[in-house]
């Protein structure tokens, strides 16, 4: 799972804006792969049951009875993800905020938080199914955990990394606690919090499919994939995998656009 912090994420160069040369260069590799894939399956280089030709895969979600399940699956997965993601960022954000603004809470919670975070997320599954069964609750809690950890971590870190110069100004002006929180601490941590939300979303999506795949029962892209594998329908498996990538990409793009609009005019340009 993605588990990076603010500084790592900020170190990445900013993505180029708009579909320019980078877009076409980016699309070259997938395009070449599709050509090779098509050639390999049509020329009989690979068993066509293992590698279904691309045009058949493209039609599966529309023409095939089992394939059409995909649409309900996507809907179910996205709704499930949104539920878990929302709970996760709210709870994680609150926890991060608490650790970030209160030394007392930080001393009390941070060590346990760090310890629990070391547990690989998928190791939670047996515990969660024991507590909540194999139904919706266990899945949503799992997704919330996937989203909540990076959210808490980044919020905490963002609040901890507030420049001492700003803290001194706040002390000199003797700002009230409320003003300190709303006008200084949170705005200053906002870029880190935004990165936390972004990572939380990616994690929530991975967590959704993981939960569906591992906890069976019910609709979803994960279940769709598991079903395809059971029945040895490689076309369905390939559609499922491509769907995962596509939905993840779309969610991330939407989120970035949303975050960019929410950020105050000068939020990113500190000097």
């Amino acid at each position: 799972m993605v588990d990076q912090t603010v500084s790592e994420a900020l170190a990445k160069p900013a993505a180029a804006a708009g579909p320019g040369r980078d877009f076409w260069r980016g699309i070259a590799v997938p395009a070449a792969l599709v050509v090779i894939w098509s050639a390999a399956s049509h020329l009989g280089l690979v068993d066509s049951r293992l590698l279904v030709p691309p045009e058949r895969v493209a039609l599966v979600p529309f023409l095939d009875a089992d394939g059409r399940e995909l649409w309900l699956g996507i809907t179910a997965s996205v709704l499930r993800m949104l539920a878990g993601f929302t709970i996760g960022i709210l709870a994680g954000g609150a926890l991060g905020l608490l650790m970030g603004v209160s030394r007392f809470a930080e001393r009390g919670i941070a060590p346990s938080f760090t310890a629990v975070r070391q547990i690989t997320l998928f190791a939670w599954i047996p515990l969660l199914t024991a507590w909540f069964g194999n139904g919706e609750a266990a899945k949503i809690v799992f997704i919330a955990l996937s989203a909540g950890f990076p959210m808490a971590l980044n919020t905490h870190q963002g609040l901890r990394d507030i420049p001492i110069a700003f803290v001194e100004v706040a002390r000199v002006l003797r700002l009230s606690r409320r003003r300190l929180l709303t006008q200084v601490l949170v705005p200053s941590a906002l870029p880190a919090i935004a990165i936390g939300i972004e990572i939380a979303l990616i994690n929530a999506w991975i967590g959704t499919v993981g939960a569906e795949y591992a906890m069976g029962l019910g609709r979803g892209v994960g279940a769709f994939l598991a079903e395809g594998r059971e029945q040895f329908r490689m076309d369905i498996v390939i559609v499922g995998v491509l769907t995962l990538a596509l939905v993840g990409f779309v969610l991330n793009t939407l989120l970035r656009a949303g975050v960019a609009r929410l950020m105050p005019a000068s939020g990113n340009s500190r000097r």
Partner: protein, 250 residues
């Protein structure tokens, strides 16, 4: 309104613990800033000027000796003092107006009056029209003026300035020196300013405290008995400058 608050710095010493070693930063600093005075501190970098301002503003209360405001020992930040740092330290996510308004957060002035106070002080530093601008949209000089407005909006008795013009080009500097004088007279506030520019100190001050480093001590105090229309090329001006420079490089 006349500023009546005097600032007494009595045998103040300050030691920092650095790697288990005691670092003497200030030793026996002793001087008084009279009500309404404009006092400058000059000295080599590292001689403890910023440290002294941090003690006076109340960001650091661990020191020996006494810093007295009207006879009362300073034990933390208070409404009677404010500071402008070398960097403007405006909050980048707030507009000029919002930044200045933060200076009133701790005041008990009614909300109705606050907006007017903020507007007056933005006017005072000649930033009218830039109320809604963000700090990154301002030049260095304008940002520093906004910081001065934030420091003055709650009507402190003492304004501390830590090399406020240090990062500006010389034209902007000269202009803001005159602006500082105007603001000082208009607000009748007591000013204690740190600068490394001796000419600036002679141009603005009633009195210059000259410091020497390692540990930070007072090398001498030079009263500037020139009238208030000062000519930088005048013989009296140059004589005062020489005295300060002599103390600095004795």
């Amino acid at each position: 309104m006349l500023a009546e608050t005097s600032l007494d710095i009595r045998t103040v010493s300050k030691t920092y613990q650095v790697n288990d070693q005691a670092l003497d930063v200030l030793r026996n600093i002793d001087f008084t800033v009279e009500p309404g005075e404009f006092v400058s501190i000059v000295g080599a970098s590292g001689c403890g000027k910023s440290t002294l301002l941090r003690l006076i503003i109340g960001l650091d209360t661990e020191y020996h000796g006494d810093i007295l405001l009207d006879g009362r020992r300073i034990d933390g930040p208070g409404a009677d003092r404010s500071i402008v740092f070398q960097e403007h330290r405006l909050f980048p996510w707030l507009t000029v107006e919002q930044n200045v308004a933060l200076g009133l957060d701790a005041s008990d002035a009614p909300v109705a009056i606050r907006g007017q106070s903020v507007a007056e002080h933005i006017d005072l530093v000649r930033l009218a029209g830039f109320e809604k601008a963000y700090p990154h949209q301002l030049s260095g000089g304008m940002a520093q003026r906004a910081a001065i407005a934030r420091a003055l909006v709650n009507r402190p008795k003492i304004l501390l300035l830590d090399e406020p013009l240090g990062a500006l080009d010389s034209l902007t500097r000269a202009y803001l020196q005159d602006e500082l004088l105007r603001i000082w007279r208009q607000q009748s506030v007591t000013v204690l300013m740190v600068t490394h520019d001796v000419e600036e100190a002679v141009y603005l001050s009633d009195k210059i405290v000259v410091m020497e480093p390692r540990p930070g001590r007072i090398a001498g105090i030079v009263p500037i008995d020139l009238d208030h229309q000062r000519e930088r090329a005048a013989a009296g001006f140059i004589a005062h400058k020489e005295r300060v420079l002599h103390l600095l490089n004795h």
